[in-house]
Amino acid sequence: MRADPIALGGWQRRERTLTIVVVGIFALVILRLFVLQVLEGSRYRELSEENRIRVEVLTAPRGEIRDRKGRLLADCVPSFTVTLDPFDKAYSRAPGRLDSTLAALGPILGTDPAVLRDKIQRERKMSFLPVRLKRNVDIKSVAFVSEHRDRLPGVQVESEPLRRYPLGLMASHLLGYVGEISDKELADPTYSDYLSGDLMGRMGIERRYEKLLRGQDGKRFLEVNALGRKGDFLGEKHPVLPKRGTNLTLTIDLDVQRAAEDAFEQGARGAVVAIDPRNGEVLALVSKPNYDPNEFSTGITQERWNEMSGGGNYPLFNRAIQAAYPPGSTLKPFTALAGLESGAITVGTYLAQACTGEYRFGSRLFGCWKHDGHGRLAVHDAIVRSCDVYFYQLGLRIGLDRLADFMSKLDLSGKTGIDLPQERRGLFPDQAWYDHHFGAGRWSRGIILNLAIGQGEVNLTPVKLAQITALVANGGTLWRPRLIRSIGEGLPGSSVPDDSLRRELAISDRSLSVVRAAMASVVSDPQGTGGQARVDSVTVAGKTGTAQNTHGKDHALFICFAPVEAPRIAMAVLVENAGHGSTAAAPIARKVLQAFFHPAPPESAAVVARR
């Protein structure tokens, strides 16, 4: 039988073992204290009296962004940031000292000392890091800080990468910008790896691909004395080197993008989205007016922000994806598709009533844009000449249910899923929508007349319009538009086709070819409304639109694709309050197509040729 361990003294052996363990633990403490206090004591005494150990964050440069041909859209350049260490001994000894430092710095940095003080109070609660007072300071401020070091305890000039957009206004909505993380985001666990004062992507590619672009900041421990820095702290903490962010190559073609941006008149508001119908790659995405993202990299004032985010024109607003407009007559090819697909009409069907410039429905008169009428038309000519009266009747023939059904196949009420944040949904209403918003039975069947010509409650974003135009061009494939061609050091041009981005819709080739032929005639036929979009040696198919809206003059729209035989580009153009699509939007499309099919030779080559 086992010895009873409970008997008096039975714990003896365990007591001895435990005592040895405990004495060992404390011996280690004493040994450690001896090393710290006796052997290395004088070194630590010196550190505690004169110097200070500080953490310096080594900010990782963000990844570069380039266009599909490798041309630079965003990179990083070195810049100077003035920081202040609120834990400097001078401030813990005499808290009032901070005010005199800030009073001296304020005028040089051009910032109110009270604002700086608030920032310091806020950030010192969150970390032990120095507070960034101002980024991208000029050389004069750097000189001032160095000269007056004795009067500015804890103030340092640090080198940090600054986000730069070398082309300024170009592609601003697409790229987005960077700004300091907000207090609200800091409190969110999603951003737990950010520190107060860190920059993060806002809008556009910068926001959407923040995780890739950001990289990983490093840090090192520095020993700082009254005269500035003394060098790395030779403790056991090794510096952690920053990892630069991942480079991105976009699907954007800078030539096409530039042509689209330049095609707008000064002060115009609108958007262009151009897509490769074969794979959904976005070739250009423009919103006007645009802004200069460089302004944000160093932090902007509240007044400037208010001006940018409002100011009547809302330059920060990305009209290509965040705004939905009535598509007007650009919807007619799709109404025609719905008619052909649902069997409401065939290619040869003439509708009951000839166009006399107006159409009576119940007690209401619906006008055609051409007041003297188009006469009797079949679907081809109705598209070419954009006859409203034909489409009123077609709408009635198809009926709301079948029309809404077809449009929902195109996902008109959904998002395209483009890889940009804050995309807005479009809307093509159905019966349930009207019942819900107007009340069951409280709306007239007449709404179908307006919907058929792209007016009324239907609303689409320019990117959605471009997506469905590409669908007509490529024979029925709905591609999710995308902006990334390659991630990291992958060669431009090595784009990987991704089948998860495509959705084949069951639309017959017969119907599609009828609509494609009609859209080609819109541009080529002398009777067509899109003659302004003609480009040398390329067949273009298009459709104009002029959308009435409640905010003043009509919006001008144009959708197109080219070449008709094997389309490589599909596009939607919108100009706010500019009048007719044929005169205000089609010329913009022409300039974009021109740049795409007949790019100007590179400047250097032209110079050589002239010699």
Binding site: D4, Q37, Y44, F87
Partner: protein
């Protein structure tokens, strides 16, 4: 009540060490909060004195009643109260330093995990005191393991990793004292070591080799052997697989959880500042109230978790050494009391209470001298805080209770 016969057997060195440490604690809470920049905290030492009065009464009362009444049904009742308080903390607790650790009624706030530790030790002692069970048998361990696991997981949920590990430390110390062979305890720890090492294949292979040798030499029976081997293999192989399949945000959560300072440039900085403070004290210190590092940046914690670095800075190697020696004395006397007790429950009670001290002192002091990560555990008796002080006096009171009645079977 405490008659002359009992009070003669009070463990005087233990009592002396406790009172000295408490007085030193109040003095350094005063010092750590005396800087002009800490004006909001100037009165804290007075509050600590008030807590001491409560703690003395509580400790005295728990020492006076013969400890045998805590055995059996009472222990389950105390334990249940402790668990209820922990559960309440999760639902209606106050958030402090990123975790829900406090429970409050108006101005009074308590940290239930401190009380739960004491209650858990009492129940464990009561369970392990049962002589009818052979505590060298693995199958008999389910009860005590469950007893420690429930509060451990509830505290982990707050989250307070440091305190939850205290329950594991208590359980292991008490199992050892109850007679479980050291080897078994070793095997219970191996899967944990396995998780830690599995990311570094060479170290993992060395570990497995060692384990195999120890298993072979130990000659344990086939079934336990198979269990130990298979658990270790499964854990070791599965851990990196699971880790690799986690989402980045999940990984982030786990690493922040294991090391709350991982994200903060703060934690590494705190350790460096603590080491500078202690080191700069040299042999004799800068003198009471003359520390300079404390004015810097441990921020809210220089009078709580980092009080030992203030002691080290102001009193040097001498002072820090004396404080360490007092803790050593306290713990060794606790072990002594546990050993002398004739009653099995009494011995286990004393060793359990001592193990709480041992774990906290070890983790806290090792942290301040840079031997352990930042965990946020207070230093018993020295750190500012009422719950911790009252709990410490309850622990000492129970050890004294056993000391006074060591003759009883």
């Amino acid at each position: 009540m405490i008659s002359a016969r009992f009070s003669a057997d009070i463990d005087r060195p233990l009592l002396l060490a406790t009172l000295l440490l408490t007085v030193i604690g109040i003095a350094f809470v005063f010092s750590a909060t005396s800087m002009p920049s800490a004006s909001a905290e100037h009165g804290l030492y007075l509050k600590q004195i008030a807590y001491l009065v409560i703690a003395l009464v509580a400790g005295g009362l728990i020492a006076a009643v013969p400890y045998r009444i805590y055995e059996g049904k009472t222990s389950y009742l105390l334990y249940a109260i402790g668990l209820v308080l922990l559960v309440l903390t999760i639902f209606i607790g106050h958030v402090g330093l990123g975790a829900q650790r406090w429970l409050g009624w108006g101005p009074i706030k308590i940290q239930p995990s401190e009380m739960a530790k004491v209650a858990t030790v009492i129940l464990l002692a009561s369970q392990l005191a049962n002589r009818k069970k052979d505590w060298t048998q693995i199958k008999n361990l389910a009860g005590p393991v469950l007893t420690a696991a429930v509060p451990c997981l509830l505290v982990l949920k707050q989250p307070d990793l440091g305190t939850s590990i205290a329950f594991v430390a208590m359980l292991f110390t008490m199992l050892y004292w109850a007679g479980l062979p050291f080897l078994y305890l070793f095997f219970m720890i191996t899967p944990i070591a396995n998780v830690a090492l599995s990311f570094f294949t060479p170290a993992w292979l060395v570990f497995l080799g060692l384990l195999a040798v120890i298993l072979y030499r130990s000659r344990i029976r086939l079934l336990p052997l198979l269990i130990v081997v298979s658990v270790n293999l499964v854990v070791g192989i599965a851990t990196p697989q699971i880790w690799n399949h986690l989402q980045p945000y999940q990984k982030q959560r786990i690493s922040t959880f294991l090391d709350p300072g991982a994200d903060a440039y703060g934690a590494g900085y705190q350790i460096i500042q603590s080491k500078i403070a202690i080191g700069s004290g040299e042999v004799f210190g800068k003198g009471f109230l003359h520390g300079t590092q404390k004015a810097l940046a441990f921020l809210p914690e220089q009078h709580t978790d980092f009080i030992y670095s203030v002691v080290g800075e102001e009193t040097g190697f001498m002072g820090a050494g004396i404080v360490a020696a007092l803790y050593l004395l306290l713990i060794l006397r606790g072990i002594k009391v546990a050993n002398r007790a004739r009653n099995r429950f009494g011995g286990l009670l004393a060793i359990g209470m001592t193990s709480i001290f041992l774990y906290h002192v070890l983790v806290n002091i090792w942290m301040t001298v840079g031997l352990a990560p930042v965990t946020g555990l207070p230093l018993p008796l020295l750190s500012y805080g009422g719950s911790s002080l009252v709990a410490s006096f309850l622990q000492v009171g129970l050890i004294q209770n056993v000391a006074m009645r060591w003759r009883e079977y």
